[in-house]
Amino acid sequence: MRVKTLMRTRFSTLTPDLSLARARELMARERVTCLPVMHGSQVAGVLSVDAIRGAGPSVVPALARHEPPDALARLTVRDAMRVGVPTVRAETPVETAALLLADGDLEALPVVDGESPVGMLTRQDVLGFLADALDGDRGPGFDHVLVLVDFGEGTDAALAAGSRLARRAGRLTLLHVVTPRWRWLLAGAEPIGTLDWLVRQRRDRALALLRQLDRTGTPLDLGRIVAVGDPVEQALALAARLEADLLVVGRPVRRGLRRWRPGPAEALVARAPCPVLAVPPRSADHDAGR
């Protein structure tokens, strides 16, 4: 693979006379950790976030007190940039670029055409490529899929999708969460023991229903868990504890104004420790029709 495959072609450049404070702002805005410094049309060096940090006030408060607070505004890119950085060409093999990054302890390499920069190759780009290569040896699918089951209209589709996406001989865990919605209504009148008994009844019934779902004849290592509490919180906690690779949740059909109210899928997407697959109820039919 060549550098041109991984390099970034949209990037800003710095000039040696720019203040470090401005350079830091620019890098923060563009969410990059390294930018090339240009002298005319040639690459004069690179400036990294680490270099800016090194040039700024000490992180030790006692030492920082003795340094001017506006040090970064007084210093320029020239004072902190790294010069003599090797460059690569778009056709350079990625392996060569990786060695240059490692040997030089560099954050990024400018990619040049002649003397003009045409791209930037960062350590992060190369690490991503290596992760791809290492992961390529594994078979398709996810190691551990957690399916949130609510026995609603989306359950079948979610279960089918979860089974399909799990790796051969992987793990599929079905989770149902019993929500004691009526607890606050009855808590004043019913003894706690009765409430707990009701929850236990619902939990046992849910477990029996989960067992009935095991009709796929799947070779997967199938687990069933019934928890009590808020479905989103329980799913998030369990996904983290079981180190699930994928969380599958059905998307219930909502009509009227409820259509605009966020459901569990939206909440899970925002906070899940793994990717989330949101499955619409008719997805199984859709797949079958293809």
Partner: protein
């Protein structure tokens, strides 16, 4: 997994994390991956009274740049033996994704949310919420800042 997967990329590195997961799903299955990036409509570029670039020229340049960007991602998937197709669309992001899903008959839409400071056309949590309401097939979403990557 068979059929095709539509992968939405907004040009930001955060969004590319989805590629690893898609590769994991699609490798060895024969599925075709459609890489889609959506650009906002071009605007007339003027300098004083003179028109420097017309809308179609701006959009053509945007499309070319988008294809170059997607080609890099496609190479990464191609190494894993996954057939890919590239698609650059101009317009409103949600509508473009829905159109692309319909056109490609994709059975899965995959995307990653960015980490804030999103430019126009980027995949944001608001966009994801709208997609979840409207896309008729499963949607695979990786949020920004996931501790574990694919």
């Amino acid at each position: 997994m068979q059929g095709s997967v539509l992968v939405v990329l907004d040009g930001r590195r955060a969004g590319e994390r989805i590629v690893g997961w898609v590769r994991r799903l699609a490798s060895g299955t024969g599925a075709t991956v459609h890489l889609l990036t959506v650009r906002e409509p071009g605007r007339l570029v003027r300098a004083g009274d003179r028109t420097v670039a017309f809308v179609d020229e701006v959009e053509a340049a945007d499309r070319a740049e988008g294809l170059t960007y997607l080609a890099g991602i496609a190479t990464r998937l191609g190494v894993a033996g996954i057939p890919t197709r590239l698609d650059v669309r101009v317009g409103r992001t949600v509508e473009a994704i829905l159109d692309a899903q319909r056109d490609t008959r994709a059975g899965l839409v995959a995307l990653a949310t960015g980490d804030g400071g999103a430019p126009r056309g980027a995949v944001t949590e608001a966009l994801v919420a709208e997609l979840l309401r409207r896309v008729p097939v499963p949607v695979l979403i990786a949020r920004a800042g996931l501790a574990r990557a694919a």
